[in-house]
């Protein structure tokens, strides 16, 4: 079974839970930017959390299924149409052979996810089906989908019908004002006290420069401590000897426009990181659209671990285990 792509949408890629273990050679974890939404869609479609989905950014694709299929659409609010007729998000959609699926405009957020029973069945590359476009690796031929692509769908596991729907309390929320929790560290000692205060007390506006690699924010300038730069570090006080970048870490090149790295992060570089978004808030970051008013709130490692445990509990609740 397969999906025939009639229109690809703006940037539609195959993603799953990502690939760990290759960051030491520059291959990022990848995977669905909003892991929770992708997981919910899989749960409704009758999959496990591991099946690959289509991640659709802003403008969705138009496609035709070659055989009967069960799909579910989760993530950012969007009109879903089957053969031109409106259908619901967050429910099981049963398609007949030849049915055509299309989407309206997003009503918030950035990305929605199409899960299909059996999962998108592209080959595993380094243990994952996720697309890493910069390296032309994984996913569908290492790239975003194009018109004319025939995207394979895997055989469905017997017995799993999927959830009838998703408790609204479990669904992602979309807001124009967002608090993101960060753990300060890495090179935070290189900022002046005033500089750190500026980072943590200002409201930052997400710029349109936001993609799978990272998100850039506009706001006031942030002060770095002047210093005699160490050998090999580069001339600006925000420069360090090129080092590994934590996923979720925040860098402030030249003291302007902080950048938070996301799942397709470049694995290293020469800008000092001063804080890192906690793992439990990475999906929130992924959902935020340009213009979102964002505050970075410092928490302790203990807080970060508690938030992580809460998310895990939510996961257990979803899957009933």
């Amino acid at each position: 079974m397969s999906f025939e792509i009639l229109e690809p949408g703006l940037s539609t890629t195959v993603q799953d839970r990502g690939r760990l273990g290759y960051y030491n050679v520059g291959i990022p974890q990848g995977g669905s930017m909003d892991q929770w939404s992708a997981e919910l869609a899989n749960a409704v479609a009758g999959n496990t959390a591991a099946e690959a989905v289509l991640e659709c950014t802003y403008l969705g694709p138009r496609f035709r299924t070659t055989e009967a299929a069960v799909i579910a659409v989760g993530g950012a609010p969007v009109d879903v149409k089957v053969n031109g007729e409106n259908r619901e998000q967050w429910t099981r959609l049963e398609l007949a052979a030849g049915d055509e699926v299309s989407f309206g405009f997003l009503q918030g957020g950035t990305r929605f996810y199409i899960a299909v029973r059996g999962g998108i069945d592209v080959p595993l590359v380094l243990g994952s089906r996720s697309t890493y476009t910069l390296g032309s690796l994984g996913g569908f031929k290492g790239r975003k989908l194009e018109a004319g692509d025939v995207v394979p769908v895997g055989p469905s596991a017997a017995g799993n019908k999927g959830l009838g729907g998703i408790d609204p309390a479990l669904r992602p929320t979309y807001t124009r004002e967002l608090d993101i929790r960060v753990v300060c560290g890495l090179y935070d000692h290189r900022l002046t006290e005033a500089g750190m205060n500026t980072l943590l007390s200002s409201t930052w506006t997400l710029t349109p420069v936001a993609d799978r690699t990272g998100l850039r924010y506009s706001g006031p300038a942030i002060e770095w401590k002047p210093r005699q730069q160490p050998f090999g570090a580069g001339s600006d006080p925000s420069n360090i000897v090129d080092a590994g970048y934590a996923v979720g870490s925040i860098q402030i090149p030249g003291g302007n426009e902080p950048i938070a790295l996301h799942r397709d992060a470049v694995s290293g570089g020469g800008y000092a990181m001063v804080a890192t978004v906690i793992s439990a808030d990475m999906d929130l970051l992924a959902r935020s659209a340009p213009g979102t008013q964002t505050r970075f709130r410092a928490v302790t490692m203990k807080d970060a671990l508690r938030a992580r445990a809460d998310l895990k509990a939510l996961r257990h609740r979803l899957w009933g285990n």
Partner: protein, 304 residues
């Protein structure tokens, strides 16, 4: 000869441990780049990987630091830090600081038309708007000409001090005393385009761009053969799609257009193989008499 250099003595017990959120431990060996700091980062990474602790997914040695990704549900952060600190003590105490690695010859077409043309498209805002990246690099290092810069560039071997930024991109540090290091400022505003396999330079680091894309390093030439091969077509990529590993030693060999095209044909028909030989790299020897030691390493290539 002492087994420990003054440089590595200075770094003993000095690493800084800090957290990148709840999934990353970052260990800075030193603020400044040096062969000794890189060696320590690499050694610690090697030992940590060898422990194969469950809960650790990525151990990423960098130039003068390392980054470790872990799952705090499986491995307690405090326990991880304790293990890493114990490894630091062990690395600091090691009698012989050696690394089993290899030397690789990388053919480069210096001052090629592809990087020249790309450079010409990004002159606006460059430190040298009317010149070339090579002229700027020569001038920055007080050298008389681009030709002299090129000859210094391939005159001594380089150590791969980090692999990353994007898939398979090697950062390289020239194995010469600090006062002889080539240093070139990065672009003031990064390019949006770089030809794949561009040989670049920023700060004290050389790199080879593994994929086409953005870049901020000055561009000097083109490596003739792939360093990242997702299809794993060539023999050097049978085991893995990425060629370079931290600790590799690289010597650049200047080639002309004819040889570049000949290598291109070998790559196309799948017969290209990098010239390479195993090396036991000894830090103390490398620091004591770099010129003699580099010569010794280079000669390994002649016996294969």
């Amino acid at each position: 000869m002492s087994a420990h250099s003054a440089e590595s003595e200075r770094l003993k017990g000095k690493a800084r441990y800090t957290w990148g959120g709840d999934e990353f431990l970052f260990i800075e060996i030193d603020e400044a780049m040096s062969l000794a700091a890189n060696f320590k980062a690499n050694s610690m990474a090697g030992m940590l990987s060898a422990r194969a602790l469950s809960g650790i997914s990525d151990v990423c040695p960098a130039n003068a630091s390392l980054l470790i990704r872990f799952n705090p549900d499986v491995l307690d952060p405090e326990e991880l830090e304790a293990v890493a600190r114990a490894i630091e003590v062990e690395v600091d105490a090691a009698e012989h600081q050696t690394l089993e690695t290899r030397i690789v010859e990388v053919p480069v077409w210096y001052d090629d038309p592809f990087t020249r043309e790309t450079g010409a498209r990004f002159r606006s805002g460059h430190q040298s708007p009317d010149g070339t990246d090579l002229d700027f690099a020569a001038e920055s290092n007080g050298l008389a000409s681009a030709a002299e810069f090129i000859s210094r560039h391939h005159g001594s071997p380089w150590l791969v001090s980090m692999v990353g930024f994007v898939a398979g991109l090697p950062f390289m540090f020239q194995m010469v005393p600090r006062e002889q290091q080539l240093e070139v400022p990065k672009y003031l505003s990064p390019r949006t385009d770089t030809p794949p396999l561009t040989v670049g330079h920023g700060g004290c680091f050389a790199c080879i761009y593994s994929v086409r894309g953005a870049g901020g390093y000055q561009m000097f030439g083109l490596a003739a053969a792939p360093i990242f091969d997702p299809a794993q077509r060539l023999e050097d990529f049978t085991d893995f799609m990425i060629f370079f590993k931290p600790g590799d030693i690289v010597t650049f060999r200047p080639i002309d257009q004819d040889e570049y095209e000949r290598i291109q044909r070998q790559v196309e028909d799948g017969t290209f193989v990098y010239r390479q030989a195993p090396v036991t790299f000894d830090l103390a020897e490398a620091l004591e008499d770099p010129q003699r030691y580099n010569q010794e390493i280079l000669e390994r290539l002649n016996v294969v």
